[in-house]
């Protein structure tokens, strides 16, 4: 069961990143971050709860579940950062282009 959950999580992360553009996605990423912090806090303060939940979804120990979630979350964060880098690169390119065209127009006007 955990394998299916992890694969679904990775696919969801990929889908999320591919459509990452507007305010909805930016807000969603922050909600997910808060939920994860909450989950990790619960894991620290109530390890027995995590152990019980881990057994329900077919993972031996709570620590393994935390590790799996940490790895999938890290993968999502890395892909999201790549995407944000690409979006930033596009904005720099647009800025450069606008400037270059204005400079050329001014040069021709002179």
């Amino acid at each position: 069961m955990i394998k299916i959950i992890l694969i679904c999580l990775l696919l969801l992360e990929l889908l999320f990143v591919r459509h990452y553009r507007g305010t909805v996605q930016r807000a969603s990423s922050r909600i997910i971050l808060v939920l994860l912090i909450f989950f990790f806090a619960v894991a620290v303060f109530f390890p027995s709860l995590v152990n019980r939940f881990a057994k329900i979804i077919g993972v031996g120990r709570g620590t393994d579940l935390v590790l799996y979630l940490f790895i999938t979350t890290s993968a999502g964060v890395i892909i999201l950062l790549f995407k944000k880098f690409l979006l930033l690169e596009r904005r720099i390119v647009d800025l450069n282009r606008a400037l270059v065209i204005e400079l050329q127009k001014n040069r021709q006007a002179d």
């Binding site: 990143v17 995407k83 690409l86 390119v93 450069n96 282009r97 270059v100 065209i101 050329q104 127009k105």
Partner: protein, 231 residues
């Protein structure tokens, strides 16, 4: 009707560190009476000055952005300065495209005025000069693109294209690097542009071979599309 003499044709040529070949490439075009907009992608050599000397209007990127970004800069400049054009040609700066092939492209428009874009293909003339392994790789890549973009194409990454003037303002290339060739194909599907291919002769030289796209660019293109899509 001779489209070459009756229509205004503007060439958009992206260039990066091409000082040894850019003069010959551009002067051949300007001598034929066409306007050239050369987008210098922040070259570290004298490419921009030499292109200007050859008769081109030169736009110099302040930072190196990539071939796709340079082509889009040329398109935006045409749209924003109201340059009169019936056709816009994208053309490589390394001298591997032949100006003689332009008539083949324009014939396509003459026969089918509804066309929006004509794409160059190295394989229609059956004179491909590369080695067998390169041919197999390029044909396979074209086949994959044909399936994924639902287009009938034989060449995926040919920089020689002729685009109808009024279509230019609908094209917005977001991919700054070499992936823009695929983005052109994606836009043809997305904007429902009418297209055909025209056979081109590629003049391979040691210089153009050395400047050719590496497999690493292909890896970047594919992974970017899989992970991030087009937007």
């Amino acid at each position: 009707m001779n489209l070459e003499s009756n229509h205004k044709i503007v060439f958009v040529i992206p260039a990066y560190n091409e000082q040894s070949v850019i003069f010959r490439t551009i002067s051949e075009i300007t001598k034929s009476g066409y306007q050239v907009i050369c987008v210098d992608d922040c070259s570290t050599d004298r490419t921009a000055q030499i292109a200007r000397d050859a008769g081109a209007t030169v736009l110099s990127h302040l930072i190196n952005c990539g071939q796709g970004a340079a082509i889009q800069t040329g398109f935006d400049y045409i749209c924003k300065t109201s340059i009169q054009q019936d056709f816009v040609v994208t053309f490589d700066s390394d001298g591997q495209h032949s100006l003689d092939d332009l008539s083949v492209f324009l014939d396509k428009f003459e026969r089918n005025p509804a066309l929006d874009i004509v794409l160059g293909s190295r394989f229609l003339n059956k004179e491909f000069q590369g080695n067998l392994s390169k041919k197999i790789v390029l044909r396979t890549m074209a086949r994959v693109a044909a399936i994924s973009f639902r287009l009938k194409i034989t060449d995926r990454h040919n920089g020689y294209r002729v685009i109808k003037g009024d279509v230019i303002n609908r094209i917005k290339l977001l991919t700054p690097g070499y992936g823009h060739a695929d983005e052109f194909l994606n836009l043809i599907t997305k904007l429902k542009l009418s297209y055909e291919e025209a056979g081109t002769h590629i003049i391979y030289s040691d210089y153009s071979r050395a400047k050719g796209q590496s497999l690493l660019n292909g890896i970047i293109m594919v992974t970017d599309r899989v992970l991030f899509g087009w937007k």
